[in-house]
Subunit: 236 residues, 2 copies
Amino acid sequence: MTTRDPQATALARFAALFADETRAACLLALLDGRAWTAGELARHAGVAASTLSEHLGRLVAGGLLAEERQGRHRYVRLADARTAQLVEDLAAQVSPGPAARPRSLRESSAGLAMARGRTCYDHLAGRLGIAVTDALTRRGLLRQDTGFALTETGLAWFASAGIVLAAHGRRPLARACLDWTERRPHLAGVAGAALCRHALDTGWCVRIGSERAVKVTAVGERALSDLLGVEPADLR
Amino acid sequence: MTTRDPQATALARFAALFADETRAACLLALLDGRAWTAGELARHAGVAASTLSEHLGRLVAGGLLAEERQGRHRYVRLADARTAQLVEDLAAQVSPGPAARPRSLRESSAGLAMARGRTCYDHLAGRLGIAVTDALTRRGLLRQDTGFALTETGLAWFASAGIVLAAHGRRPLARACLDWTERRPHLAGVAGAALCRHALDTGWCVRIGSERAVKVTAVGERALSDLLGVEPADLR
DNA sequence: CCGGTACTTCGGCGCCGGCCGAACGGTCCG
DNA sequence: CGGACCGTTCGGCCGGCGCCGAAGTACCGG
């Protein structure tokens, strides 16, 4: 007890940030990639504003959240893509997957929409994300059998679609992110983020509700079918 | 407080497994990929055997550890590669990296050996792991610019070296694992594990001490230079 | 300048969980 | 069969932490 492993101390302190239901609810909510105010999060988590204020202080001090003060509002969002990835990884580890999912009708409206399509911080997830990833793989634009990377034709496809893949620090161009509803990897990284942004900008998808769920529009269905051969049935 | 998000509850409970210094010390120790007895871990963590027994119970119940009873011994090891990856990710997130590392002479003997070369569950890490990964990349056997994947020539290289890459469930063939001393990705996944096993089996490396550190032998230095063009200077 | 709103700080409460030592049970060995 | 050893269970102690409400501060709008 005198001299403990400093790495173990740091790991425990860091993990403690996630080890509270209220903070976990905040982090999961912030996985939508947007900035929330302290009050919104307090209402979402169902605790007093004072309580949530302290939680935000911890999360910011721990480097998980970035804050931006605007007037009397305190906006917070996930610090970076790396943090979002970690939250996703943890969430995927604990979620039951589609097999064990209850068929309850109660959670269907929100739950089914999330399972159909959603954002995962800054890229597409759910059946939508899987359908796109599979289509990219089927067309030889993405290889998953030797790792997880775009091919030369894949790079050309992004360029021809007008989607710019800007090098962004050390963030990988393509990365696998485990989908917690489908239990299979979908495209993340710079390419995944650029594709998602393009889809939202061009109206292929629109956000529905106040959460992370997205819906594919008629235009989007057409575009995904034309450009990638995505079967509309895989989006339902 | 009446109806909380079940995913947030699950995430918090799961994270709580890591959020204790003693448990964290156990998980980090078990990153060597081997099985430890309860007594060894208790001594390592500096707590009473009774205390550690309860910790092991929680970690096993949480699915992080697999246990194997042999006579009056209770051996535990990390449950699987996926769990090991999560521990690694968390450890990498909290470790300071080489820049912020203290130049203390105290921790040098053990710390320097770990920084030079170690195992990361079942693959190589530290300067050794980075040197091998860089050499693979330099020779066009591994591509990191479009993601992280072996190339066709990379697959051929493994075959010609007599290293069998057996498909193993859903585990990816090649995966990037962030090295927490070098702050750069090294090779993990099926290929990383096979390469590490081969290195230990053929005597390219040997374990030193009781921890995760490994040392490159003269034979290994020669082999890595011949087969991959690894500069011996990069291993020091 | 004044009321309303958003957030923070503080004090106090209650509970959870990590720690230990003592007693117990199971296993190995002489 | 008895003693030594490894691990587990139990009771009890203590500290930390999450919670709230009340009071305080900062900001916006009229």
